[in-house]
């Protein structure tokens, strides 16, 4: 620890060090979290292609899965960090949420317009697309969060 007579530069360095410690904890295991999150998001969105009760089941399992990985991450890091709390990174999370909502509505429209196409085929293509978008979005979120960790200098 530094002493009471720390200079402004030393104080700023101490803050940056503590923020880096937070970042390093969040970043450790980041790929595993992002991959799991992307699989869940893909299942949730693609599941909307199917009729009741399977679409409801996909949504319920998705919310449950997201809750579980959030709780595990909180326990692992000792930090509670929601995607929408950082000032700038939140816009990436909000953007992803809007994209997923749009994809869900889009899938419902596609099902109506193409009733002869296999729901499994539509779900497969949509799931792969959402998986990629979720993974890229997660990585972008981490980059923005990392940039946000730096002090305003």
């Amino acid at each position: 620890m530094t002493d009471d007579q720390q200079t402004p530069a030393e104080a700023l360095a101490a803050i940056e060090k503590s923020r880096r410690a937070v970042h390093d904890r969040v970043a450790g295991g980041g790929w595993r979290y992002d991959l799991t999150y992307s699989v869940i998001a893909a299942g949730m969105v693609a599941g909307q292609v199917f009729d009741v009760p399977y679409n409801v089941l996909a949504s319920t399992l998705g919310v449950l899965g997201l809750t579980i990985i959030f709780q595990r991450e909180t326990k692992r890091t000792g930090l509670r960090l929601t995607g929408v709390s950082p000032r700038w990174a939140r816009w990436v999370a909000i953007g992803l949420g809007l994209l997923f909502a749009a994809a869900m509505i889009g899938l419902l429209v596609i099902r109506r317009l193409m009733p002869e196409t296999s729901p499994l085929l539509i779900a497969g293509v949509a799931g792969a697309g959402v998986f990629l978008i979720a993974l890229i979005g997660s990585r972008i979120w981490r980059r923005v969060y990392r940039a946000e960790m730096r002090l305003d200098r």
């Binding site: 620890m1 530094t2 002493d3 009471d4 720390q6 200079t7 402004p8 530069a9 104080a11 700023l12 101490a14 803050i15 940056e16 060090k17 503590s18 923020r19 410690a21 937070v22 970042h23 904890r25 969040v26 326990k75 890091t77 000792g78 930090l79 509670r80 960090l81 929601t82 709390s85 950082p86 960790m149 002090l151 305003d152 200098r153």
Partner: protein
């Protein structure tokens, strides 16, 4: 909006500065995580947290997990504002020192 630079003696103390640094980067941080990051004893961390809580800068929450009571801390709106103002002041002072 940029915060108005303002030095804050409560936040500036070593340890408290780092606690605020941690809490500014997350919604909540657990006691053990902060203790390990700061490399201080439980009692020292408790003292810092109490000082910040009395100033109205942090909120403490107890939660049971796996049969144990855990303490979580988060910055209040006033704490977030005061910390941003303090960082702005430190940045200003560091800039002046660099120019001298």
């Amino acid at each position: 909006m940029r915060p108005v630079p303002r030095f804050d003696a409560v936040i500036h103390a070593p340890g408290r500065l780092q606690i605020c640094g941690i809490l500014s980067a997350a919604d909540e941080a657990e006691f053990a995580m902060m203790r390990d990051t700061l490399e201080v004893s439980d009692s020292v961390l408790s003292k810092h947290l109490k000082a910040l809580e009395e100033a109205g800068y942090i909120k403490l929450r107890k939660a049971a997990a796996e049969g144990r009571q855990r303490t979580w801390a988060s910055l209040t709106a006033a704490g977030r504002k005061a910390f941003a103002a303090h960082v702005a002041e430190l940045t200003r002072l560091a800039g002046l020192a660099a120019q001298a």
